[in-house]
């Protein structure tokens, strides 16, 4: 018995090997797109790289139709020589139509539930058809379209005006009361795919969009950041364009506590450098810089006010004012908030510091 026991143990353990997922024997989807077909079915498209030595960037796209997002994966696996797995997914696209029709919570349920998918997956909304975007050939032939677009959005949020976004940030906002969240918008124009703004989601559906030119203000309101480009025009004697790159920017919120007349003051603080000035005046002159700062301040305040008024009108809160208000007013419920928010006084105060003006005068 003593000698047989270990043998039995080892045999039974060897039989209980976990199911293998050897890298070259699975299809690793790197991007997924969900679209709605004419007959209200979900069409899923999986961008799957084909790895070959000395040939980079080859990929195939498998697609399938079903009624749920996870079932699409099963349908697609039926068409592939290897099982389709999601562990390497970087980006998930939804078409505007599918979001309006089905709703974000339902669409992201599988994505959040599935442990294979990390929390850093980027979600993006496509204006138009996802199919058109996914089947576009990536301009950089070394990577497939999925990686290309994921890199595009990451690059935009790091050095452009795109706000930070991924599955976790989205769910954090979307699962709160009201479900006010935002996602980057992509659009295919001619043969290029570009970021075309930010989609604002409220209670599961897309309700509004932030245009590209407002994205800097939006990014500053939502998070503090270290990069971002803002273009505005300086008007005194003549009109000229100035471009400022942010170095450290962010906003802070001040909630007044009075119950009868709730108000919020938003302080936007920008520290930046002049990137370009379409005017041949000496920028080392403090006066000139003060002038630029003033002009930018006014411009920013106006833009921010416009944006926030628009949010209030539509009763959406992508900036997360509700949480800030709730932090100070414990007793607030979501119903109350819905009532006060549209009429709340929201003041914007802006502060601009130009720290540098570049290497030339």
């Amino acid at each position: 018995m003593r000698k047989v026991l270990p043998v039995i143990l080892i045999c039974s353990l060897l039989c209980s090997c976990a199911q293998q997922k050897v890298v070259d024997e699975v299809n690793m989807a790197q991007a997924i797109g969900y679209d709605l077909t004419e007959d209200d079915m979900i069409e899923g498209m999986f961008v799957i790289p084909i790895f070959q030595q000395e040939k980079m960037g080859k990929y195939q796209i498998l697609s399938g139709k079903s009624t749920t997002t996870s079932d699409v994966q099963a349908i697609v696996s039926k068409k592939a020589n290897k099982p389709v797995l999601l562990g390497q997914t970087r980006i998930v696209f939804f078409s505007e139509k599918i979001v309006q029709q089905i709703g974000m919570t339902e669409l992201t349920d599988y994505i959040y539930r599935e442990p294979q998918l990390g929390n850093r997956v980027i979600l993006a909304i496509v204006e138009g058809k996802v199919k058109d975007v996914i089947y576009t050939k990536s301009p950089n032939s070394n990577v497939n379209i999925g990686i290309f677009l994921a890199d595009l959005i990451t690059q935009q949020k790091e050095s452009g005006n795109g706000p930070d976004t991924n599955l976790h940030i989205f769910l954090k906002d979307a699962l709160a009361d009201g479900g006010d969240a935002f996602l980057p918008l992509l659009k295919k124009r001619n043969n290029d795919i570009m970021v075309s703004g930010v989609a604002l989601i409220h209670e599961n559906k897309i309700v509004s969009k932030v245009k590209t030119q407002d994205m800097f203000v939006f990014k500053t309101l939502v998070q503090s950041h270290k990069r971002g480009i803002y273009k505005f025009s300086l008007k005194d004697k003549k009109k000229s364009e100035i471009v400022v790159e942010s170095i450290r920017s962010g906003s802070s919120y001040n909630v007044s506590n009075s119950g009868s007349d709730p108000s919020i003051t938003i302080k936007i603080k920008i520290e930046g450098q002049v990137k370009e000035s379409m005017r041949s005046e000496n920028l080392t002159n403090r006066k000139m810089i003060k002038k630029i700062e003033m002009a930018m301040k006014q411009d920013l305040t106006r833009e921010a006010n416009k944006l926030i008024n628009d949010f209030q009108k539509k009763n959406i809160d992508p900036i997360g004012l509700k949480e800030k208000y709730h932090a100070k007013n414990k007793r607030m419920t979501y119903e109350e908030w819905k009532k006060i928010y549209p009429n709340m006084t929201i003041k914007v105060e802006t502060e601009v510091h130009i720290l540098q003006t570049g290497v030339s005068e």
């Binding site: 209980s16 954090k172 800030k324 414990k330």
Partner: protein, 363 residues
Amino acid sequence: MNQAGVNDKYKVSPFYVFFLVHSMQTGIGVLSFQRVLAKSAGTDGWISIILAGLIVHIMIWIIYKIFSIVPGDIISANTQALGKWLGNFFNLLFIIYFLILGMTVIISYINVVHVWMFEEVPSWAFALVFLILIYYINSGGFRTVTGVTFLSVLLTYWLLFDLIYAMKYAEFTNLLPIFDHSILDILKGVKDNSLTMIGFELILMFYPFIKDAKTSQKYAHGGALTTTLLTVFIYLVSLVFYSQKQLVLTIWPTLTMTSVVELPFIQRFEYIEISWWALVIIPNMTISLWAASRGFKRLFNVQQKYPLWGMSIIILLINIFVFDMDSLYILNKIINPYGLYFICLYLPLLLLIIYTKKLRKRL
């Protein structure tokens, strides 16, 4: 005279009590306590944790008080205080309690592994390997058990870095408002927090294995304090990382949190964390089963390996025949409220009985 007398050779330094208590308290609970706590106490959950920590300190004080009057372990204390029959009944209850505790930990961990990594591997296979490992550790005596515990604490603290990484997504307004919940909610939170509290009661069994056991009290308190601080820290990070509703939806917030970690050479971190967590879990299972089998040994005067075998077989059979989600549900129902009530009500009572007996003897 003292049955619990342990040869000096097998004893460990008092300073290891810190690690034994701390490791036993932070086990599987740390992965998932936030969800239930957030449900009941929300942003004020950290108050519940601190309250729970206070209770633990009181209990530890009671335990050391009991042993200062009747040195030995809980087995001898019970029989001395309650007489042979009633005492042995409670001894049996303690043994069952330790067994259930160990079983809960094993099954919980298997459940985590099932959900996150290998859904197709049968539970009994995991249980078998864990039990062999536990037997192997236990066969080295309490010194080895302590060693594994000690090293596992040392080797797992680096995992805290992923909490710091997660702070990248922190939204500190989530901590507010404070004192948003009623005292009842906060007290309910204390109960819900029990999986990260219990574990200190293992002192009841390993007390005779400590050199100069009386001096080890400060280490026991230190261990419990560290656990409380760690739990508060994890809870606060979870609060700022998740929004309330999301936290309630997430079953293992600590694990989901690690899935935002990205290192240049590792894309996803949670798989490493789950595997590494085995290192945290194994001392938990080992100490509980050690305590249960040791109690059995003291009660029935048999070699420790026989009850250990028996208990292993019970756990294995449960893993073969009951689906882990089901058994976990039942076990959590038992351990969570009743286990805690049992410990927290029984120990003060025991101290009271022992104390009055002592007084009467003197009179």
